[in-house]
């Protein structure tokens, strides 16, 4: 036990000074003393944010340069928006797809939406031949459907976390078939494939997980 004659307190430590007044302590620590609290070991957690900051800085600067060049030589065409949009998508892809700790099914659904949106924009901005609706939207929705079903099969124990996302994407896979009837989609087979897959998955959920889906909805929507 050590002693501080200023504060008149006792303390058992290997440190040489009083934590209250910083005066030197008298006496010796107990022979079998183990410090109450461990020493601080720096976790070096600063490195990651700095790398992130540098990359962020470089991308923002290049986006601004692109926009300035475009505006300086403006001829009625805002071409810089395409690379800027792509960089932007790439950023979201990296941060949501890889670094986010969000639920993996959520990430799939989110990125699928984003990609479909981006592709439709590019399609509309360029030749407007409708490849994004006709092929890519139904195919991407089916891929996402299969991917989430696959995850549920592999990680069976957590299936309740994913089932609501599966339901969402399965319901949204019915959109292409609606677009067929409104005449926006002209190539029918990808839309039909996506529709068939979605119906199959929906029926599967309804037959085999009726309680889970009810519980999940109750949880998510309680007010």
């Amino acid at each position: 036990m050590k002693y501080c004659d200023k504060c008149k307190i006792t303390i058992d430590t290997f440190n040489s000074y009083c934590p209250l007044c910083q005066q030197v302590l008298e006496g010796e620590p107990s022979p079998d003393l183990i410090e109450k609290y461990p020493e601080y070991v720096s976790a070096n957690r600063k490195i990651y944010p700095i790398t992130k900051k540098i990359i962020m800085f470089v991308t923002i600067v290049s986006m601004i340069i692109l926009l300035i060049i475009n505006l300086a030589s403006y001829n009625g065409n805002l071409w810089s928006l395409i690379p800027i949009g792509s960089i932007f998508f790439f950023w979201i892809l990296i941060s949501v797809g890889i670094f986010s700790r969000q639920n993996i099914a959520f990430r799939f659904v989110f990125l699928t939406f984003l990609l479909i949106g981006l592709l439709i924009l590019i399609d509309e901005a360029s030749l407007q031949i409708g490849w994004s609706y006709n092929y890519l939207m139904p195919i991407l929705l089916s891929v996402c459907n299969l991917a989430i079903s696959g995850i549920i099969l592999i990680k069976r124990i957590d299936y309740r976390d994913y089932i609501l996302y599966l339901l969402t994407i399965a319901i949204l896979s019915l959109v292409p078939i609606i677009l067929v009837f409104t005449g926006i989609i002209t190539i029918v087979w990808p839309a039909i494939t996506a529709f068939a897959l979605a119906i199959f998955i929906l029926l599967f959920i309804i037959f085999f997980f009726p309680k889970s889906i009810k519980d999940e909805i109750k949880k998510r929507f309680h007010a």
Binding site: C7, K8, I9, T10, I11, D12, T13, N15, C18, P19, L20, C21, I34, K36, Y37, P38, E39, Y40, V41, S42, R101, I157, D158, R160, D161, K211, S212, D215, K219, R220, F221, H222, A223
Partner: protein
């Protein structure tokens, strides 16, 4: 809520728990700690086994935080929980995204078991029950011949619905929910510690001596400490400096009140409220004697049943608001955040939490040495204080986010000047 099989349990958040996920960060962690020192070195393998057993008995803690459309909630967590060796951090952030999604930690070091809990999940009294159950099962597993004597809940008891109830809404009175506006509180100044570290300094004194001291002053221990705390802040920070603008804000001590002592409930979740003592301290001649009288008065006023119900209902009314209830969560959380930043934290200079005394059955007592409680210290509440006692060891722990220790020094010197022995512990955070 627990009618389904164990694997499908989920829990609504209680009224006071709802705010914490939105206002917590690396700096404002809203984490508190209770620790127990046993008489023998902790076996981490057995401790891990114990926690696994306990989690099966207390499904309320085997959860992760999830977001719904209108509110976030606790959902069953299927991932394993891991006990860890104690690190230097005191009440560090519990991010729902790390730690396998668990909202508490169990750590060990030498003879100590340390539990850190995110405030959303439970309050001090709830964690004490968890700690007692954990200690009991651990000692049984180590091979000690002990009996629960109905003082600790054991793994064989069935979980009861009452343990999970949100008692706040049970005692809600819509006729008594008036909001009383408050002024921003005085903030204890100091130089921030590097890397957001937290310092902890605890002083252990004799429980019986403290009770005698409080009685001599016709006060409870909590009242005595609250008065002394105000006096200490006054003499170290404000006295003779009343002309400075920032010193003219009232010094306000936030004292949590365990409502289970005032209203019948056995819940493990948040069921606490507070009493606040506040005073503008710009006069040059405030004495400790003045403050004792003042604090006693304020406690008497704040502890009346109707005042406690008013404070409870003031919070509950917020979640009963039909408009707010059906606002989607991603918008609602901003409302919660703004409300809390404007009102919550900045209305208190310091929190002083008296967890009270912990009892163990006689057969367990030879294996338990002492207990410690601590709450996080953040940017605005730079110094916080918690008290917990076991047998004749009463431990007062100061946590701080600043380098200076003048408040701790003057506080403990008050007792040594009275001739009372004080044994100090510190994590010597200023070394780093």
């Amino acid at each position: 809520m627990n009618k389904q099989s164990r694997h499908e349990t989920w829990f609504r958040m209680d009224n006071s728990g709802k705010i914490f996920p939105e206002v917590s960060s690396h700096r404002e962690t809203n984490v508190f700690r209770v620790a127990i020192s046993l008489t023998e070195k902790i076996d981490n393998v057995l401790l891990q086994q114990t926690v696994d057993t306990i989690l099966a008995r207390y499904p309320m803690f085997k959860v992760k935080l999830k977001k719904g459309l209108f509110w976030s909630y606790f959902d069953y967590n299927s991932k394993p929980f891991h006990v860890e060796e104690l690190k230097h951090y005191v009440c560090g952030e519990i991010s729902p995204k790390k730690n396998n999604g668990y909202l508490f930690r169990v750590m060990y070091r030498n003879t100590d078991i340390i539990i850190e809990m995110f405030h959303s999940l439970a309050d001090g009294a709830g964690v004490i029950k968890f700690l007692k159950a954990l200690t009991y099962e651990y000692l049984v597993l180590v091979g000690k011949d002990i009996k629960p004597d109905n003082l600790v809940p054991t793994k064989n008891q069935r979980p009861s619905m009452e343990e999970y109830e949100d008692a706040n809404t049970k005692f809600y009175d819509k006729k008594n929910k008036k909001h009383v506006p408050e002024k921003r509180a005085y903030r204890i100044k100091g130089s921030p510690l590097s890397e957001d570290l937290t310092g902890i300094i605890s002083g252990t004194m004799s429980t019986s001596r403290m009770i005698r001291l409080a009685r001599e002053n016709k006060m409870t221990i909590t009242e005595y400490f609250a008065a002394l705390m105000m006096y200490t802040i006054y003499i170290t920070q404000i006295q003779y400096r009343g002309q400075i603008k920032s010193n003219q804000a009232p010094v306000k001590i936030f004292v949590p009140v365990n409502l289970r002592k005032h209203f019948p409930s056995n819940t493990l979740r948040n069921f606490s409220n507070f009493v606040k003592v506040g005073m503008v301290m710009t006069e040059d001649d405030i004495s400790f004697e003045d403050l004792k009288i003042f604090v006693k008065e304020q406690f008497e006023k704040g502890m009346t049943k109707s005042e406690l119900i008013r404070k409870m209902s003031e919070n509950v009314k917020f979640e009963k608001n039909i408009f707010l209830r059906f606002t989607p969560y991603f918008l609602k959380k901003y409302a919660l955040k703004i409300g809390y930043n404007m009102l919550g934290m900045k209305l208190n200079t310091m929190s002083l939490t008296n967890i009270g005394k912990v009892d163990f059955p006689e057969s367990m007592q030879p294996f338990v040495f002492d207990v410690t409680a601590a709450v996080y210290a953040g940017k605005f509440n730079t110094v916080n204080c918690s008290i917990m006692s076991y047998q004749d060891r009463l431990k007062i722990s100061f946590t701080r986010s600043i380098v200076e220790t003048t408040i701790e020094r003057e506080f403990f010197r008050h007792f040594t000047d009275l001739g009372i022995d004080v044994e100090i512990e510190s994590n010597y955070v200023e070394e780093y």
